[in-house]
């Protein structure tokens, strides 16, 4: 699905209106846009700056500061590989490498077909299940390199 510039602008406007175009709500506004598109499209960032009367440089500074925001399009599915201590000692790095090989991308990148974005986290608090791979918020425990392929095939 391609988003047109016009749709984007409209969506950004309605999100901005939800927050009465309040400069103090910048982070929440960006969060809502990120939730809508899975990333912060450039046009939306510009729109936010204009509507709030805040310099684009400052909006951009905030947009690049938080890890929760991405300025690049992200995949339909978000994979988080836990590299916390417990997962680490149980071979999480090998699991990560297997996923990287399978998808042919490095960590913190998105596949060309925009299917997956791969990221790592440092402990999700479920150490007993390690190594853990979380896809779209769903936990897959006791992950092994030879289970990776089958796991990824569940997603379209």
């Amino acid at each position: 699905m391609r988003i047109t510039a016009k749709q984007l602008k409209q969506k950004a406007k309605s999100i901005l209106d939800n927050y009465q175009r309040d400069q103090g709500m910048l982070v929440s506004i960006l969060q809502d846009i990120q939730a809508e598109y899975n990333y912060l499209p450039k046009e939306a960032v510009v729109e936010v700056s204009q509507a709030l009367g805040a310099p684009l440089s400052q909006v951009y500074s905030v947009a690049t500061f938080f890890k929760a925001f991405s300025l690049e399009p992200r995949g339909r599915h978000l994979i988080n590989v836990c590299l916390g201590t417990a997962c680490h000692v149980r071979g999480a790095v090998r699991v990560l490498e297997a996923i990287e090989r399978e998808l042919d991308i490095k960590s913190s990148r998105t596949t060309k077909d925009l299917k997956f974005t791969l990221e790592t986290v440092n402990c999700v608090g479920a150490c007993a299940l390690g190594p853990i791979v979380i896809i779209d918020g769903e936990y897959h425990g006791q992950m092994k390199t030879d289970k990776v392929k089958a796991l990824l095939e569940n997603y379209t």
Partner: protein, 242 residues
């Protein structure tokens, strides 16, 4: 007015002034990189740390941010302060080994080599350019982006910023000359210390009388706009106007 002592010397100061300001007013030298009297203090470089006595304990504070108070005792040259400065200069020297300003300042505090891994950065992230662009010029064309080790000065999306008027304040204020500015013929070029950014170019205005190129057109348009002057005000350069 409050009375405080710096290195044992009793001095008077306006309440609310910072230790660094008071020290400078009294010709007491404290090294500082991210401080400039024209913009709000920021506390980024930590080079200006001094020791103060509070509740019977000595602690290090950033003198550019710490407001003076009655009876405050400040020491700018204790072993702890000096070691702290040396460490900061070692870190800065590792970050910007080619910067002459950093090399000189390091030497001044007795540092001529660094134990840390060398990088090849030019910018020390002091934020002076960003603050000058916002507070003095009023256009906020650049900002500090990303975070942690990826922090850098940049324009939005690393593109030539629409908001920039080419005034060069960032280049003037940069304490380590990381921002390069050059006027050649009818063009001014500003180069930010960011490998992701291209050089930014500005057309310079030609004086109708002497034919000299004397200031970026966008800067003159900006000044005319905020001062409510007619656009032709700057057709002639200041030298020919007299």
């Amino acid at each position: 007015m409050v009375t405080l002592s710096i290195d044992g010397r009793e001095v008077q100061a306006e309440e609310g002034a910072t230790i660094l300001e008071v020290a400078r007013d009294n010709n007491i030298y404290i090294p500082a990189l991210c401080y400039h009297e024209e913009v709000a203090p920021y506390g980024a470089c930590r080079l200006c740390m001094v020791e103060i006595a509070a509740n019977g304990r000595e602690k290090l504070v950033a003198s550019c941010l710490y407001p003076v108070e009655e009876g405050l005792r400040v020491k700018t040259n204790t072993e702890r302060v000096i070691n702290n400065r040396r460490m900061i200069m070692e870190l800065l020297l590792a970050r910007c080994p080619d910067s002459e300003v950093i090399q000189d300042l390091a030497k001044q505090v007795g540092v001529d080599k660094t134990p840390f891994k060398l990088e090849d950065k030019q910018c020390i992230l002091c934020g002076l350019c960003v603050r000058a662009c916002e507070e003095v010029v009023g256009v906020s064309a650049i900002s500090l982006v990303n975070r942690g080790v990826n922090r850098q000065v940049a324009s939005p999306f690393y593109e030539a910023p629409d908001a920039c008027i080419g005034c060069g304040s960032c280049a003037y204020i940069c304490p380590v000359n990381a921002i390069k500015m050059e006027d050649i013929g009818d063009t001014r070029t500003i180069t930010m210390p960011n490998p992701k950014m291209k050089k930014i170019e500005f057309k310079l205005k030609k004086c109708k009388v002497c034919g000299k190129y004397w200031a970026p057109e966008r800067q003159l348009e900006y000044i005319a706009r905020i001062a409510g002057l007619a656009p032709e005000t700057f057709d002639v350069c200041p030298d020919c106007r007299q």
